[in-house]
């Protein structure tokens, strides 16, 4: 038993749980491909609008596939005492959680790549100029958001409330990244830096850099702030897990 074993177990459960696939795969993927394709066809500056919308919808993939999925999965496994049973094996706590996070990162990054290719084919959105930057932030962002999802399970009393309690994050992420259209322009200016400090916004900012014009130097400079934002969120998530993560239900 090792990290690979927990990773494989999580991956198998992820794809076998057909009920969850609607919210964790089909909906984020549908929005990330459908909305830009719609923009391409209804807007005068179709390709630009589609590209802007696509980068915004990546926040929905992060919050849907990474955050919502891992939160629901871990809360249910906690309620069913699966986590408690896993701890009685030779697996360490770190291996159990890392396997779950690694699986979530794999699925999330795969969906981000699939949607990037799909909008390239369907909406003429160009592929990223700097694919390494795109890939690096897709992986780092998924890992941070999934780790935050693990930490968030501590606030959730029961499995059936997990999805409802992740909805605010889904809305905030969509609002801040522009996936809900330019509604941000209607919000007060003092709110903008707060929304920009969300981990999903940091990933979207870095992805915008990877698509926009620039050089290696300007890319590195532009990636500095998103990197710091993600590092700060990773620290918060890890400290929260260490302090509050529960392996079993309160009643047990």
């Amino acid at each position: 038993m090792s990290l690979t074993a927990t990773y494989k177990l999580s991956a198998r459960l992820f794809w076998r749980d057909k009920g969850m696939l609607l919210a964790s795969v089909i909906l984020p993927l549908g929005l990330a491909i459908g909305m830009p394709t719609l923009m391409r066809n209804v807007q005068a500056d179709g390709v630009t609008a589609a590209a802007q919308m696509f980068m915004g919808t990546l926040a929905l993939i992060l919050s849907g596939t990474a955050f919502l999925n891992i939160t629901v999965a871990l809360t249910m496994r906690r309620d069913q005492l699966v986590l408690k049973r896993l701890r009685t094996t030779r697996l360490t706590d770190r291996q159990i959680l890392l396997g779950e996070v690694a699986n979530t990162v794999t699925q999330t990054v795969a969906l981000m790549f699939v949607s990037a290719v799909a909008v390239h084919l369907l909406a003429d959105v160009p592929l990223p100029r700097n694919p390494v930057l795109f890939a690096a932030f897709a992986v780092a962002g998924s890992a941070v958001v999934a780790t935050l999802g693990v930490a968030w399970t501590a606030a959730i009393p029961r499995g059936e409330l997990a999805a409802v309690m992740t909805l605010p994050f889904f809305f905030l992420a969509g609002l801040a990244s522009g996936a809900m259209g330019p509604i941000m322009n209607l919000l007060p200016s003092w709110l903008h830096p707060l929304l920009a400090a969300l981990p999903t916004s940091a990933v979207v900012d870095a992805v915008r850099t990877s698509y926009g014009p620039g050089t290696l130097g300007s890319d590195l400079a532009a990636a500095a702030v998103p990197t710091l934002v993600l590092a700060a969120w990773a620290g918060i998530a890890l400290l929260s897990i260490r302090r509050w993560f529960r392996w079993e239900t309160r009643k047990s």
């Binding site: 009920g19 969850m20 609607l22 919210a23 964790s24 909906l27 929005l31 719609l38 923009m39 066809n41 209804v42 807007q43 919502l68 629901v72 809360t75 249910m76 009393p157 499995g159 059936e160 409330l161 997990a162 999805a163 409802v164 309690m165 909805l167 605010p168 889904f170 809305f171 809900m180 259209g181 330019p182 509604i183 209607l186 919000l187 007060p188 200016s189 709110l191």
Partner: protein, 254 residues
């Protein structure tokens, strides 16, 4: 006729007691509802340079549609599904309560919560923004109650279709997003961009009818123009009732 009403109210009281006794659930739903329903319109009203009642009203109704969908549809689906899984529904039936009293009581409980939350959100907006109260307040109240009832009934249908309690909330997310987009919860820009056939399809949702009826309640006008939205809600209610009548399960699928 007296007994079923008493049964319905007994189940509604039980549902209400279970809900209000669950501090975290109350906190989560109340915070989510108030933040979504009042927060965004409040922020937008504060940031607009000139007073634009129509934009604030549009956001209010759009977010109210989203809040009602979360509180009525999602909550009904989760509550019924969880009670089915824990065999509470089966035990209630064994107690001699009729099936329609059990479901009706749950709907009364959820509609009450949704109406209270809508009232709270609306009063916050009347107090802290320049949004005036509706010209036809009774029509607005009746609209909220009717739409919450239809959305809760749709929640019962979701609880039939979805296999496990934890899947109910994720399953309702697409419905909630579609309702919010159609009702204008993403702002007037996104709604204006939608192709005609998409907007037409989204207007067929119960929340589309809500926007029309509540819009008339706020602006005033001829009630005769409400035939379409009322027919819309009636059709959804009938579809929901037929689905519940023939497909509702009292036992978990094990």
């Amino acid at each position: 006729m007296v007994t079923p009403v008493r049964e319905v109210l007994a189940v509604a009281r039980l549902g209400g007691r279970l809900f209000w006794g669950d501090g975290r659930a109350v906190g989560g739903i109340a915070v989510l509802g108030v933040c979504l329903g009042a927060g965004l319109p409040l922020l937008i009203a504060a940031s607009l340079r000139s007073r634009d009642v129509e934009v604030v009203l549009g956001m209010h109704l759009g977010m109210l549609a989203m809040v009602l969908t979360v509180v009525a549809t999602t909550q009904t689906a989760v509550a019924l599904s969880t009670r089915r899984e824990l065999l509470v529904l089966k035990r209630l039936r064994a107690s001699g309560l009729r099936g329609r009293a059990i479901i009706g009581g749950e709907l009364v409980n959820i509609v009450t919560q949704a109406t209270l939350l809508s009232a709270l959100v609306s009063v916050i907006l009347y107090t802290f923004t320049y949004l005036p109260p509706p010209e036809l307040p009774l029509l607005f109240a009746a609209c909220v109650v009717a739409v919450a009832g239809v959305l809760a009934l749709i929640g019962v249908v979701f609880s039939i279709v979805t296999r496990r309690p934890d899947l109910n909330a994720p399953a309702t997310i697409p419905f909630m997003l579609a309702s919010a987009v159609g009702a204008g919860g993403y702002g007037p820009f996104v709604t204006g961009l939608l192709p005609g056939w998409v907007q037409w399809a989204l207007d067929l949702l119960p929340t589309g009818a809500m926007v029309e009826i509540a819009g008339l309640a706020y602006r005033g006008g001829e009630l005769a123009t409400l035939t379409g939205p009322v027919l819309n809600l009636t059709v959804w209610a009938l579809l929901g009732l037929v689905a519940v009548r023939f497909l509702f399960r009292w036992d978990p699928r094990r």
